[in-house]
């Protein structure tokens, strides 16, 4: 079966060879040790509980902000210091580890840790006397973790044949009340990625603040439509417990109601901020992952299939361990069912200059984002802006400023 898959893999870009011509003993040792380093993915979800404990012990509410410091300051610096990781496992190792349950158990622990993060922060915020500023910090910290919960849900949600992983994906989605994510992402985003029709692919010239207004409602509508179609095919109503979006929203409703009942009315702003900031983290990820990239339409009216060069890739070591190789996005979109431990680095794919934590900060400052990213998109398209997914409100200005017909003509 694998050989058929490999024979038919006509991807024009190949993953870089295992070890990439470098010291193979050293690289192999690193790849083997990564099985332990993946536990780092539990680091960020454990920060809210730890920092909340420190806040209580010291009486200093400033500690409730610490997860944000971790996300937006410490991780970018760590990415800068530790650099990139272009090591790929060889075929023998891939076959050995691709289905190893050990890697799934890390995901189950992560699922539990996300609930511990949310409930522990909610408990500390509600049971001690804090200023509103400190409570805001606690809610945003829980939101950062909720965003990372969507990364865990993403990894498990792709394993549709594994019932336990699919269930855990829903459990972790319930933390932030984003129950439609798996349907929207697997069936919607992966199908339409890097096309103007995809509400979860950002367009050239589109700021993240404009993108979010298209992304959040568009993603929900698409998910609901897909689930409605599936249920109708089965002869069921969309308003039933078979609706997987409703199942996950019910988990959220039960958990949030219990927290409201036991922890009091401060849970209303706390949970509202923690969940929507989690969604915002997803918006940031969607924004940076495919900015401006466009799949071409073929003569038969179908888009060319998604290939590694239709996603922005990042190989930064620390943030890749924290996000379970989500940043090896080129391989993920080309082969969505590959597990995180065997996702590969590719040569010659569009690359982000840093990991997601840094890129999220840049995305939130539109002028900085465009200064860093626009020329990368133009280079990717070879100066031909017809090949770019452009915000239709800005097509004229974009062509005037960036299109290089002389380069395009010379290439032709």
């Amino acid at each position: 079966m694998t050989s058929l898959v490999e024979q038919l893999d006509v991807t024009t870009t190949s993953p870089n060879p295992a070890n990439n011509g470098k010291n193979s003993v050293k690289i192999n040792a690193w790849i083997k040790s990564k099985r332990y380093w993946y536990w780092l993915s539990l680091l960020l979800p454990s920060v809210p509980a730890a920092s909340a404990y420190l806040a209580v012990q010291s009486g200093q509410g400033i500690w409730l902000w610490f997860t944000l410091v971790m996300m937006y300051a410490i991780l970018p610096v760590a990415d800068y210091i530790f650099g990139t990781d272009d090591a790929n496992p060889d075929d023998e190792l891939v076959n050995k580890i691709k289905d190893e349950r050990y890697y799934v158990y890390i995901m189950y622990c992560t699922t539990a840790m996300h609930w511990i993060a949310l409930v522990s922060m909610a408990y500390v915020v509600s049971h001690y006397d804090w200023s509103w500023l400190s409570i805001l910090g606690g809610a945003l910290s829980a939101g950062v973790t909720n965003g990372l919960g969507l990364v865990a849900a993403h990894e498990m949600g792709h394993k549709v044949k594994d019932k336990t992983q699919s269930f855990c994906a829903k459990l972790v989605l319930a933390c932030s009340g984003y129950g439609h994510f798996c349907i929207e992402h697997n069936k919607g985003h992966h199908k339409d990625v890097a096309t103007p029709e995809d509400p979860a692919s950002s367009k050239f010239g589109e700021s993240i603040y404009k993108f979010v207004k298209r992304e959040i409602p568009g993603a929900f509508r698409r998910a609901w439509g897909l689930e409605l179609t599936r249920l109708h095919r089965r002869g069921k109503s969309e308003w039933s417990l078979d609706n997987e979006i409703i199942q996950t929203f019910l988990m959220t409703a039960v958990a949030y109601t219990l927290m409201l009942a036991y922890f009091g009315s401060v849970m209303i702003p706390f949970l509202a901020i923690a969940s929507t900031y989690g969604w915002w983290q997803l918006t940031c990820a969607n924004y940076v992952e495919h900015y401006g990239l466009l799949r071409q339409k073929k003569e038969n009216g179908r888009y060319e299939r998604c290939q590694p060069h239709h996603s922005w890739n990042s190989n930064h070591k620390v943030s890749n361990l924290i996000t379970l190789h989500l940043q090896r996005h080129s391989d993920h979109h080309a082969h969505p069912t590959r597990s995180y431990q065997v996702l590969r680095d590719y040569d010659d794919v569009p690359s982000l200059p840093s990991g997601y934590p840094t890129m999220f900060v840049l995305a939130m400052i539109p002028s900085a984002w465009r200064a860093v990213m626009d020329h990368r998109v133009v280079d990717w398209a070879g100066g031909d802006m017809n090949k770019v997914n452009i915000d239709p409100d800005q097509t004229e200005q974009v062509f005037k400023r960036f299109h290089q017909p002389e380069v395009v003509n010379n290439a032709a």
Binding site: T2, V5, R234, R305, C306, T337
Partner: protein, 55 residues
């Protein structure tokens, strides 16, 4: 006899004898009757025209 078709990306096999119950295609659902935009129910990035007859 039921036919089988394989997804060229992830190796998923659509077996007419089994169908894909979860997606609303019950056992013995004929390949010919699936819509053209039927996506692989595992990876979702290949559609019916991409599948290969394997048995």
């Amino acid at each position: 006899m039921s036919k089988k078709y394989e997804c060229p990306d992830c190796g998923y096999i659509y077996d007419e004898a089994e169908g894909v119950e979860h997606e609303g295609y019950p056992p013995r659902f004929k390949w010919e009757d699936l819509p053209e935009d039927f996506p692989c129910p595992d990876c979702f990035v290949r559609e019916k025209p991409d599948f290969i007859l394997v048995g």
